[in-house]
Amino acid sequence: MADSNQKPTKNVFVTVGTTSFDDLIKTVCSENLIEVFRELGYSKILLQIGRGEYEPPVMKSDDFCVEYYRLKPSISEDVSSADLIISHAGAGSVLEAMGAKKPLIVVINDSLMGNHQVELAYQLYKDGHLYYGTCCELKNLLRTVDLRKLKPLEPGRPEKFGAFLDQVMGIS
């Protein structure tokens, strides 16, 4: 018998691209955070852990599940089926979430040298496209921010670059 009263699942997708970001994975899978996700009505967390060493415990209960994988040729399917994306500050991941017009929380990896990735997240945060913080701030962020206030990001214009190159090479 089909369960027509089943609530649609709210999914979180966590992505670290090709990097290793054990702190984020550990934070998301901690009891504290799982509790917060439950409170907020999420019932599934899918983690893309890249080259991280820490492998989160897989969990599958009636109302909540946690799964992970390392890499896929494309994360667009997982991005489009997510209701919230939590990502490292890598441009690829951020742009993928922005392109799919999904609410995004960017978590900064404190341990990276130079950490210039903060610049992009901070600029997009200033422009109202995402929220951002460190692993320690994630729990509070999740509880306090209003994801509906986020604005979609206008896509880039690669054709401008094509036209520019044509000009440089004397083709146009």
Partner: protein, 142 residues
């Protein structure tokens, strides 16, 4: 591309397969990375020189009209080789560097190195163009 980069190769092949004009030919050449993420700067000198051993012959042999590059230091030995060809009068190699969209307030080290010898250094945020007048901003590309 860097020898450790498998994703880019996959994406390129995917893109090229989608182009139906048969005139397009392409080759993929892999060179060692100049520096791995978080690698110490002291050892980077040696890995860059090692990468140059591979990169210089690639450029000298192919004598490109255009070197188009972005991001990490893997491109530096290739650009240096192109610059050498130009200085020696062998070929007028144009060097175009596209800075990552991640760079909003500061230029990457690669961009700083290439600042004076790339023909065009594109940035994707106007704040960077104001700070570094030799760069160009034509709007966000990606």
């Amino acid at each position: 591309m860097a020898s450790s980069d498998s994703m880019s190769e996959y994406k390129i092949r995917e893109l090229e397969q989608g182009i139906t004009e048969s005139k397009h030919t392409y080759t993929i050449t892999k060179v060692p990375r100049s520096r791995e993420v978080r690698q110490a700067w002291f050892t980077t000198v040696f890995t860059t020189l090692y990468a140059a051993l591979y990169s210089f012959p690639v450029v000298f042999k192919s004598r490109p009209d255009l070197i188009l590059c972005n991001g990490p230091g893997t491109c530096i030995p290739l650009c240096v080789a192109g610059f050498i060809l130009r200085v020696l009068g062998v070929k007028r190699v144009q060097i175009v560097y596209v800075e990552s969209m991640c760079r909003v307030e500061t230029l990457s080290l690669s961009a700083k190195i290439l600042y004076y010898f790339a023909d065009h250094l594109l940035v994707q945020w106007p704040s960077l163009q104001h700070k570094y007048p030799r760069t160009r901003y034509i709007g966000r590309i990606v």
